[in-house]
Symmetry: C2
Subunit: 293 residues, 2 copies
C-alpha cells in the first residue's frame, strides 16, 4: 500500500491509474477504521480494479463545540487494517495540506444540508461537501463508497454529485452492526459499559418500529421518541421519518422511507437508521448488495 | 466540430479524449463570440492537443435586474467562428440541462467573490464558480483559458481551482482590443455610436494612468474617477487599485498591481483593466503570452 501525504502525490498516482484504463474505487474515511469501513473497502474491491482510501479528520465539518480534538486517530492500526485488505493507495494529508492559509472556497448543498444531522449541526454538511469535493478532485475515482449509516450525508453527497456533474458513481453500502445490533461507529469506543447498553435502544427501536401495526409516519415517530424516552440515560437529538433522497418528512409509507434517529449517550452522539419498504410489502431488510445512484 | 447538447454526450467525448492520452484545452464562453474569445481558442490550440469550447449563458450569474434576457445569442454565427478555428468539441446545453429542477448545490469563493464586480453584482461570482465547477466536471480539461479582461473572475477561478484542487491549469490571456483601444466585449454591440465614443474613456484612462508621475494607489484611483467624471454620459461603477490575486486594495505599487474600472455607458455595463508593473520598472505592457497559475 502506497501512503500519500501530499495532494500532488495522490493526484499523480490517481492520474496514472486512470491513464492505464483501470477503474478506481474510493473509500473516504476519518480513520478509526472498523468493520463498517472495511465493508466499503471490500465493496470497492469487488467493483473496481484499484482501491484507494483516505484518512482525514476534516476540521471543517466540526463545530467549535464538537469533538474534533478527541476524535480517535489510531493511525498505525488503521494502516494495518487497510493494508490487510489490499488497499493500493492511502491518502492521509495533514489539515495544513488540505486547508492552507487563505483557502476560502466552500461547496454547499442548500436545503438538504439543513435537515436531520444538518439541523443539529449547522455547517456540518457544508464541511462535508467541501472536503468530499476536494477529495474527488484529488483521488479522481470512478466510484466512491459510503455507508448507509450516515444516511443524511449520503443524500447530501448524491445531490452534490448529481448537481455538480461529477463523473463519479456514489455507492451506498449497508450498515454493519455489532452482534447485539449496535451500528458500528468510530465513536462507539467512547461509550462506557452503561452508555453502550443504553445505546442499544437505537437499533432495538429501529427493529421494533419496522413491524409496528397500522404504521403511519406520525406513529413511527411517536414510537421512536417514546423508546428513547424510556432509556433515561439517552437524550434524543432527532427522530425523523423522511424521504431518503430529499430528507423531507414522509407524507405516507407508500414508498421506501428513511427512519432515522440520533441520540446522545453520555457525551457521545450516536446515529442509526433503517429504510422501510412500502407497507404493502414485508418490512425491508437492508439490501445485501451495495446499490448505486 | 462535434456539438454536444447533453452533459452525458460531452462527458463521453471528454473521457475518450483523455483516455487516448491527449491533452484537452477548454474555452468556456457565454457565446456572442468575438476576437477575444478566438484568442483564447488559439492559445488553447497552441498548448493542447484537442480544443473544446462551451456556449452557455449562465442564468445563475445574472441578478433578476440584469440583462439575462437581452444577452446576445447569435448561435449560428458562433458555431461558424468556432468551426473556422478548428475547435473539435462544442458543449452547448440548455439551461434545463444544466439546472434541472431540484438542483441546489452552490460553489462559493468567499471573500474574493465580494470584491470588484462581486461588490456591484451580489451573487454573480457564486453563479460563476458554480457553473465553471460544473463545466470542469463535464469537460474534464487539462487546461482552461480565460480572458484577463474579467480580472476579478480570473482571480475567483484561480482561487477555486487552488482551493478545490482541480487537476486543471488556469491560463489567463491578454485583453484583445478594437483598433481604437476599446476592450472587446459581447456587450459592445449594445452601444450606440455616442455611447461607444464615451466608452473609449475607459481604455484611455487606463493608458494614461500607467504613465502618471508620482503614482500612488490613491492618486491612480483619483485620476480614474476624475477621468470618468469628465465623460458626462458615463456612470462610474468602480475604480480600484488592487492586488491581482486577492483583489484587496494595493498599499503601494511595489509589485504588479491590477488597475480595474467598471462604468455604465447608457444601459450597458463595461469593464476594463490593466496590470501595472512595479514603479521601479517601466509601466507594464500586457504580456504577449498567456501565463499560467
Amino acid at each position: 500500500m502506497q501512503i500519500h501525504t501530499t495532494i500532488a502525490a495522490m493526484q499523480k498516482a490517481s492520474a496514472a491509474t486512470r491513464r492505464s484504463g483501470q477503474t478506481l474505487g474510493f473509500v473516504p474515511t476519518m480513520g478509526a477504521i472498523h468493520q463498517g469501513h472495511l465493508s466499503l473497502v471490500r465493496a470497492a474491491r469487488a467493483q473496481c480494479d484499484v482501491v484507494a482510501a483516505s484518512i482525514f479528520v476534516n476540521p471543517l465539518q466540526f463545530a467549535p463545540t464538537e469533538d474534533l480534538d478527541r476524535y480517535p486517530r489510531p493511525f498505525e492500526q488503521d494502516v494495518a487494517l487497510l493494508r490487510s485488505e489490499g488497499v493500493e493507495h492511502l491518502f492521509a494529508p495533514t489539515p495544513q495540506e488540505m486547508y492552507p492559509a487563505g483557502a476560502t472556497t466552500f461547496v454547499e448543498v442548500a436545503g438538504l444540508s439543513e435537515r436531520l444531522d444538518g439541523a443539529s449541526r449547522p455547517g456540518h454538511f457544508r464541511g462535508v461537501a467541501t472536503v468530499v469535493s476536494k477529495l474527488f478532485h484529488i483521488v479522481q475515482p470512478t466510484a466512491a463508497f459510503f455507508g448507509q449509516k450516515d444516511a443524511a450525508q449520503l443524500a447530501v453527497l448524491r445531490a452534490l454529485v448529481r448537481d455538480q456533474n461529477f463523473p463519479i458513481r456514489i455507492i451506498g453500502c449497508p450498515i454493519v452492526r455489532e452482534p447485539d445490533g449496535l451500528a458500528m461507529s468510530s465513536r462507539n469506543r467512547f461509550l462506557s459499559p452503561s452508555e453502550r447498553a443504553a445505546a442499544l435502544t437505537l437499533s432495538r427501536a429501529l427493529h421494533d418500529v419496522a413491524v409496528l401495526p397500522n404504521a403511519t409516519p406520525d406513529r413511527l415517530r411517536t414510537f421512536l421518541i417514546e423508546a428513547i424516552r424510556q432509556a433515561p440515560s439517552l437524550r434524543l437529538d432527532y427522530a425523523e421519518i423522511v424521504d431518503p433522497e430529499t430528507l423531507l418528512p414522509a407524507q405516507d409509507l407508500n414508498r421506501p422511507t428513511l427512519v432515522a434517529i440520533a441520540a446522545w449517550s453520555g457525551a457521545t452522539r450516536l446515529i442509526d437508521n433503517a429504510i422501510l419498504a412500502p407497507v404493502t410489502n414485508v418490512a425491508a431488510e437492508e439490501p445485501e448488495l451495495c446499490h448505486h445512484v
